[in-house]
Symmetry: D2
Subunit: 453 residues, 4 copies
């Protein structure tokens, strides 16, 4: 923590309530974590952009800062002078209300401002927001707290994207660099005993309440309003599908049999430029499967949850098994019933430097109790639910209303959280979403089935 | 009706039950109607393909015939010799199970077989199917009846596509040809009195049963199984949005304001090659709006339902009005409550040669009773529901399982039916589906809202 | 010949000089030949467009007519009323001076006007031009004769394109239709004795005059002005490269060895969508090479000249042999020295229904005299000369100045003429030109070498 | 100079002849100059790639080093151990003979090796080559000297590309960064007196010898063999076309009138994504023209030579003036007659940090002597000559044969040299070449005309 921030904290302890102090502490933690994560990078890494959907690390650092400047400082600090007049244009992501911006696919051209200036920008805005927080009172304070909270959540989302975007960029480099310094494991981990078969946890049909209304704890607008849905009886797998199981699909010709595939998925799989024959980052070397990880190349571990698959692949896999993906509401109802504790064997942000499931234990001795596992912290789980508004959903007014609502077409909901998701960021009602062909996230799957009742 | 068919009918009357006779009659009607529709075309019209999504008329004629040959004759007539060995390859649309086929975007290259041969192909298969129907008995007859029924419904779907595909092709020709021979109206029709404002029909919240199980009457597999959904209270507009109302949206800058638009829709609207500023086929001539119709160019009639809009535009319009699109279940529940009679002012296949709503009366005297109108026969209605499987949906086994299920990603459901839909083809549970940017169908919208209770 | 034309001819015989009568006769011949060629086609064939570079047959029929209407009737017949006001827009090819036109890749959408109307258009313009010719006198007549001559030459160029464009379209149709009715040969023709090796005809260095100035006989503006070029001593092959020799190249891995290829050619050869492994239209069936011809599929005849190769392939072949392509001036100097008679074993327009070299005898008994053969009427010959203006070249003024000059970048010159070129159309100074990757013309190659003096 | 190099130089002085010492000194100069040029860059700048044709600065640094390692060290230093086994793959540009390589458009993904490692790579190879040079003798030394000379010339070519590629990348950054630190001029330079009109230097017709054979001084293989060409009488402008004259073309609607343009150029000009209305980097601000320079944005100076135009634009301009571009031989003959001194007012590599013509004086008092000016050091001059082999040209054998010959299609020759070309690199016979639509080089034009004799 920098001296200025210590002083501010002191001031905060003195004059402000617990809520403000707590938010301030979290604010400083999140900002620091973002920066710490980039310490091992080479300077050139900060501008890499491997595809329009992925952004350079330096841009993430600046954009998360712009968010606080635009919505907190410009909104609540009268007379705030922007750090640089062009940054509003450079680091706006997609807020039409805020104005024009650099074309998404051009972000990799922004070597200037250099990373040194971006770090100054971060420090300057972090300090100014902290300072502002000390000065505000009453209603204005309340409203600012809300926006800062959104800013924190926003920055946590970008922490995850920083990992997945850079991993994608590195995967293209024939040097196969590591994001983190731990050497890749040379041999697949030995699994004690056979992987236990999936057990389906059964749920009776019923009318369930899903989603949350705005309240004490932060949630995004797209997680609400709370509403009722009717669900027929269903069973949900106790764990994620593993790499070993995925290899069975591959060996059975799953990638070559159109009957398993959605029509759009089959067309995508056949793309001349990039034909799919395995999950993203997998490579067959003399009959053995390897994959590119944040540590560089490593053999595929059959016991780990499979990740880096598209919706189309997840759906084809389930169909091949004679099963299906869960809906997002089946997932939510089951997760809530299981309780937060169920999640604890997931791997969280603290283990950011690990691959999905790396240290997890998807293998449970035969006869162990059937319970939902790996809900959070391993891999995002594709659901069969198209990303859409809940009944009576209304986006926020103003520019922040563009945060979630305008993406409600052409995407599918993922639930849970991955090994790159900060632990404090996820919850049972959280709705992540990506297009059906996206593979560069840590995305995997959990099987579901109709109950035979 | 050709002599052969008359004979067959006679035979049918003699030896078969009413069900068979009725199906045979419908079969002959549908086949004849398809052919009759093409009588006014120029020979060159039959091979036009204006985009990969649209197929040439000649291909439609042959493909609907191939369907009967492949699934009926090859399935139920042992020793059936195919009309031509290459036709399986030429006229298969998307059935992977059946084998390779001509690339979709290459259908416009098939000037051979010529239209004469295609007509022979039609006659030959029509006769052979009729003949087969007379010969089959017992279980085989039952199963064949089912497949023939699917073939009829399939051909009816293509009857509509023949209209919309050819309309699209003709719209590109600077000669602006008519599909039908009625001269275009020179002047907009005079509307008696003002267009009455939309009235919202209110529905209480509740648990509703939607969809249908297989039964006596034909339905597609994607319309079932029947299942329960919970719906909050809602209101549904009594009529479709009109061209006049759409012009208000345009005049208010609706096409230029990103706040109304989904992100993907806004990107599409901005496409360099084809920027959207009005519905498809509309053109501004010296301040007056004209549009291309099946009769050639005609002025836009403010009282008609708007058509040829994408999901993105429909959604933007609703948002601009502070309202929303209905879900497909809201639509279905309301339509079932209204009853089939409610539909009767819609314009059906019989009036195929008319534009959507051309002869309809969307204008009702102020004070008239509020009831659902224009449900069928004017324009397909975009709903906010992504096209997905109903709970416990299982596609048919075999090649016909590819009919609906494999398209369940990336599309939205449309309900109702259009002026180009055969009347006997539509019903309240029918689910049409298209991608969010499709505009060449007769697609319009009906507004919905959350009830303030 | 139609009655009207006969009458006109009679009138011509009576009152006009030999030049006018001769031109009128040729005009009628050319117009008639164009139409005769299309008699065997199916109606749907007339609108096929398989790629932007190729045009539909119906469009060719109309465009060559538009040319006469635009430049002759509108230029010389005051008060001429256009056959249809939209045809100027529909059938203009690339004359910017004349105004807007249908986008090139959209020509395949023009099913209207139907082929019946296009034929009326042809008759009407043919008659009007003939009539005009009878009426004009003095300077006006002179100028009109010039433009009509260009129109004839223009129509002859399109006669060749009608063959190559339709052949390309048919090649995509899995029915593999014949353009002409002669059945394809089932077996490769037996060659009497071995194919004699190429003999190089040597030429001393010197200053040569190439190109022609405008004069008595028609030439295109790009064939002049006549000017001097200095050529080092060179040898030119007495005949074209045969399919048999080309197969040696293929067997030696010529398509897989980048050392032989120009960089741009290698990139094109590697195109994901359309990787080159043989000449266009060739297909390997169980070890034997077949190719698509105007008669449908036929085995490759090793003794025939190879055709349907790009400049890149021709160049790679020559490099592989340790030789090179000739420059266009080497070709012209040699052709002029050889004299017109040298060309007579080439196959001309009269044999339009034959493939290149089909009936030719590229095989000459060992010991026979070395002389230039196959200069005209088999296949166009790629030269190493980029298509450029001759010194002091000035395009015609007015719209016809767009005829040749504006294409002088990015193309290579081909010399000679093909089996689809009308005999009266070609000569030693003629410069055909296509982009380096074009393969749908009857394009082959003749080898050259530096003389060892 | 590093200590090692000093020692080597000392050794060189002692034991080797003048030629070796001279080459060694030049080698060190060129290597040092390349590195010096990058000293002001930000770390992120080294990986920028704005289009497939342009490469990142870091890649240039490494590729020019790879060239020496591959062709000198691996060729002449038995047992040489490569600096890194993957660098052969990473930093090969287009040498098929040498093996696979990173796809051209992916060079911007190579943030690893980091710039630090690349600099070590440079030092290591520079030292090893210097060392090798001391050890070799006899024939091997001779051959190595030749290859090192090519390597030097190659690195000088990349010095120019480093400027133009980075300028292009920076132009996309809304921060409009400077490559060099001199502040941009705020005001257009005041021109003393009016710009004198162009004077044409006349040349009689004749047979001229152009090109050079291999000899004492280095030339690229494509500059020979020496051979004779016949040229009609011509006149060549004494100076380049200025920005002021270009603005006249723009004001006269030159960019909007298809008659001036080659067909392919007009199509390119109309590209939806990037419509041309001015030279690259020009921007109209409230009626005044500015352009992006290596110093950032600056007003256009009417007296400077115009640069960053394509062949298409140069050709259209000349046509608009009723003139034409010179052929490459006209240029060469005139340049040789003018003598090397004529070039001295050009701006050379020493003034790398200046824009083209920045400090030049294209304005000469009326009445001054007519002589060729600005031949070298301002802007490359488009000629009307397609890039092709000279008679009897034979590329080098081995991988270096790929240097020039394989690009001989689809490009035009530029003569002279630009403000970014190292002075020691250019000469009258030098042939630069680019595609007709390339604009990111400092490419301008000099007019020519046919003499009226």
């Amino acid at each position: 923590m920098t001296p200025d921030l210590q002083d501010l904290s002191a001031a905060a302890s003195a004059g402000k309530g617990v809520r403000v102090r707590s938010l301030l502490a979290r604010f400083q933690d999140v900002r620091t974590a973002t920066e710490a994560w980039t310490e091992l990078l080479e300077p050139g890494d900060f501008v890499l952009q491997s595809m329009p959907d992925a952004s350079p690390t330096g841009w993430h650092l600046a954009h998360t800062t712009w968010f606080f400047e635009e919505f907190v400082l410009c909104g609540f600090a009268p007379g705030h002078e922007r750090f640089h007049p062009r940054f509003q244009y450079l680091f706006n992501s997609y807020y039409e209300t805020v104005g024009e911006r650099v074309a998404r696919h051009r972000r990799g051209m922004l070597s200037r401002p250099g990373i040194g200036v971006i770090r100054e920008y971060r420090s300057s805005v972090t300090a100014a927001v902290s300072d502002l927080l000390m000065r505000l009172e009453g209603d204005e304070l309340e409203r600012a707290l809300e926006v800062i909270e959104i800013g924190l959540q926003h920055e946590q989302q970008h922490q995850e994207l920083m990992v997945t975007d850079l991993k994608h960029a590195f995967s293209i480099n024939p040097m196969r660099p590591s994001i983190v310094d731990r050497p890749p494991r040379a041999e697949p981990r030995t699994i004690e005993g056979p992987t236990r078969a999936i057990i389906f946890i059964e749920h009776d049909e019923g009318l369930f309440t899903v989603g949350v209304n705005e309240g004490e704890d932060f949630t995004f607008d797209n997680e609400g309003p709370s509403h009722r849905v009717f669900l027929p009886a269903f069973g949900l797998a106790d764990r994620l599908v593993t790499c070993g199981e995925w290899m069975e699909f591959m060996e059975a010709g799953g990638y070559d049999e159109p009957r398993h595939w959605l029509s759009a998925g089959w067309a995508r799989r056949n793309s001349l430029e990039d034909r799919w024959t395995a999950p993203l980052y997998w490579e067959n070397r003399d009959g053995e499967w390897w994959r590119f990880t944040v540590h560089g190349d490593a053999p595929v571990d059959p016991a780990e949850p499979v990740a880096h698959i598209s919706y189309y692949e997840a759906d084809a896999y389930a169909r091949w098994r004679g099963l299906r993906l869960p809906t997002e509401f089946e997932w939510e109802v089951a997760a809530i019933q299981a309780g937060r504790d169920a999640a604890l064997d997931g791997r969280f942000r603290e283990s950011l430097r690990f691959e999905p499931g790396r240290a997890s234990e998807p293998v449970e001795p035969a006869g162990g109790p059937a319970r939902l596992r790996q809900l959070f912290g391993d891999a995002w789980e594709w659901t069969s639910s198209a990303y859409a508004a809940y009944p009576r959903y209304a986006p926020d007014t103003g520019a922040l209303g563009e945060y979630n609502g305008k993406f409600m077409s052409g995407q599918f909901v993922l639930r849970g959280g991955s090994c790159a998701t900060p632990e404090s960021h996820i919850r049972s009602t959280y709705r992540n979403f990506f297009p059906a062909d996206a593979r560069w996230q840590f995305s995997g799957l959990r099987l579901a089935r109709d109950s035979q009742n």
